[in-house]
């Protein structure tokens, strides 16, 4: 009797699987919560600061819970960032390159995974090289080139390289697509070809749907990286047009030249509210996409070897 009880207790505590027993569960949740806290902590701090008014900001007693919700900081940031206009432009130089880059990289990844191409090793070498080479190396020559092409200080300076698979971290996306297409069983392709489909049809009908998670992953990353990018955009589109990130980078000087704020001085709370406003769009995109991200994976059905 006793030993039976003990065994059942042991089973409950440790479980058959990592996630069955209580100990395993406690371990998983506590680890996830502790590390998650590290990531959330700065966001919470930024948020609480962003709704503090001047009194709360200087009051050492008020640390985590402001005495009142003070939204004027957000109003101020809205004006300084000229939020809606800047947001629209940021979305243009973020969404368009992200989509185009994902498509082009999927073509390249498919070609490398499914075709016997001459010079494949050289292509891989070149892909890796373009990725390894610090952007700073070829930015000035590219700047001169764009100047000659007359696309400097327009959104095209960001969109063109992305269209041709030379955008931000294109190489990593080609590699991701390569891995995904490589994992797809070639038996499916062959049977489709026997049924009379050509290679392009095979790609559209079989390759693309099966690689849905790769497309989503790649789009998400492209989107975020283009959103956060400041070095290239400051060089290529910097002087009249601004993305939100560029405005944030120059927030203090922007604040100084914004009309109608002369009676106010810049403080931490206003800066944090601007930061929150800039993270918000990506956060929303992720929260919307994340559901598809999971579903897209389940829908594919067939898994790799």
């Amino acid at each position: 009797m006793d030993s039976d009880k003990l065994r059942r207790f042991k089973h409950k505590l440790l479980g058959k699987n990592l996630n069955d027993g209580y100990l395993g569960k406690i371990f998983i949740y506590s680890l996830l919560i502790i590390i998650g806290f590290i990531y959330v902590f700065p966001i919470i701090k930024m948020f609480t600061y962003s709704i503090k008014d001047l009194d709360d900001l200087v009051n050492p007693v008020v640390e985590w819970i402001p005495t009142k919700v003070y939204l004027v900081n957000y109003q101020t940031s809205f004006i300084v960032l000229s939020y809606w206009n800047t947001l629209l432009f940021s979305l243009v130089v973020t969404l368009v390159p992200a989509v185009l880059q994902t498509i082009t990289c999927s073509f390249a990844g498919y070609a490398l995974a499914k075709f016997r191409i001459k010079g494949k090793v050289i292509i891989f070498g070149l892909i890796l090289m373009t990725y390894l080479l610090p952007t700073q190396v070829y930015m000035i020559p590219r700047f001169v080139l764009f100047d000659k092409l007359g696309i400097l200080e327009t959104a095209w300076a960001i969109i063109f390289p992305a269209t041709f698979g030379q955008g931000l971290s294109s190489a990593i996306f080609i590699l991701i697509f390569y891995q995904f297409f490589k994992m797809q069983p070639s038996a499916l392709d062959e049977s489709a070809e026997i049924d009379g489909a050509n290679r392009y049809q095979v790609f559209i009908r079989i390759g693309v749907p099966l690689a849905a998670p790769a497309y989503l992953t790649s789009f998400l990353f492209s989107f975020v990286w283009y959103w956060n990018e400041t070095y290239i955009s400051s060089l290529f589109i910097g002087s009249d047009l601004y993305t939100l990130q560029l405005k944030l980078l120059n927030f203090s000087s922007q604040f100084g030249v914004t009309q109608g704020l002369t009676q106010q001085t810049i403080n931490e709370a206003i800066k944090y509210s601007a930061t929150i406003l800039i993270i918000l769009p990506v956060l929303i995109v992720y929260l919307v996409m994340q559901r598809w991200f999971v579903e897209g994976v389940d829908r594919t059905g067939i898994t790799g070897e």
């Binding site: 590390i35 959330v40 700065p42 020559p141 975020v224």
Partner: protein
């Protein structure tokens, strides 16, 4: 009379048609600027209002790297970076894999946790992270308040305490740079058929064996992607010392874009060597069934 193309040639052509967009882009937007930049590294480049004046000077810029204080401090930063990467890459890869596996378990609030674990991806690649580090928001006060670092220095001998304390104080930053890798591993984990685990369980395999025999082999390719990504992400991070050297010398009066291009090229070679070493290690680690 036209003969149909041989199958091999046709395959080659169709393959290249998929590659063509990328190939054109490579030539115009990357190769041309890269070759120009290489030529710059062999020249003195003066940027002025009228345009660019380039004078060929041979290997002078490269020689300067090994003979001027500016060059030495660059070499120093490359050496530091190499050591840093040897420690950080394994930590980040293992950490990201563990978190991905945990997030892939049937836990409650999965969406909530994934939302949180994507935060580093959103934040660590933008100017926001620099702002957070600068304002001290990216460190957890607990590490300092609980005196973990003091505890380490008091408990261990000096030689052991310093690297340990270093890793601990950098740990938060390391975690912030693991966001993308976590997602990479999650996407690979979801490709694994769950019935394989069930079958293994019926055959009497425990979670430990399942991990080594099913999970890890399926993640093999992603480990490689993750390692490459980590090295390059850290290597081209805009606050990286070596990158700062390249940036600062670009518009510096006495060195200029020529010297800056030269150190950038040298840095590129160093990165390639580091990557090559990891590749060799990885090959040796998993050369059992690698048919290509």
């Amino acid at each position: 009379m036209r003969r149909p193309l041989k199958r091999k040639t046709r395959e080659n052509l169709v393959g290249w048609s998929f590659l063509s967009l990328w190939a054109i882009g490579l030539l115009v937007f990357t190769m041309y600027p890269i070759i120009t930049s290489f030529y710059y590294s062999l020249s003195t480049v003066i940027l002025s209002g009228e345009g660019i004046k380039v004078t060929y000077i041979g290997l002078e810029n490269y020689r300067n790297i090994f003979s001027t204080p500016e060059g030495f401090s660059f070499l120093q930063s490359v050496g530091d970076f190499a050591i840093e990467i040897l420690i950080k890459v394994p930590i980040i890869t293992v950490f990201a894999m563990i978190i991905a596996i945990l997030l892939n378990q049937p836990i409650k609030g999965k969406g909530f946790f994934r939302g949180i674990y994507f935060l580093p991806v959103i934040i660590a690649s933008g100017p926001v992270i620099s702002q957070l580090i600068y304002q001290g928001a990216a460190t957890i006060p607990l590490v300092e308040e609980l005196g973990i670092i003091d505890f380490i220095t008091e408990t261990f001998s000096e030689g052991l305490a310093r690297p340990l304390a270093n890793i601990f104080s950098e740990l938060i930053v390391i975690l912030w740079f693991s966001g993308v890798q976590i997602l990479l591993f999650i996407s690979a984990l979801q490709k694994i058929d769950k019935s394989v685990y069930e079958a293994a369980m019926i055959d009497g395999a425990g979670p430990w064996e399942s991990f080594w025999k099913i999970t890890l082999p399926s993640l093999k390719n992603m480990v490689l992607v993750s390692v490459v990504f980590t090295i390059i992400n850290l290597g081209t991070y805009s606050e990286n010392e070596a990158i700062l050297h390249i940036k600062n010398n670009m518009f510096a009066l006495e060195t200029g874009f020529g010297f800056s291009s030269a150190i950038a090229w040298l840095y590129f070679i160093a990165l390639a060597i580091i990557l090559g070493l990891f590749f060799l290690f990885f090959r040796g680690f998993s050369n059992k069934r690698r048919t290509n």
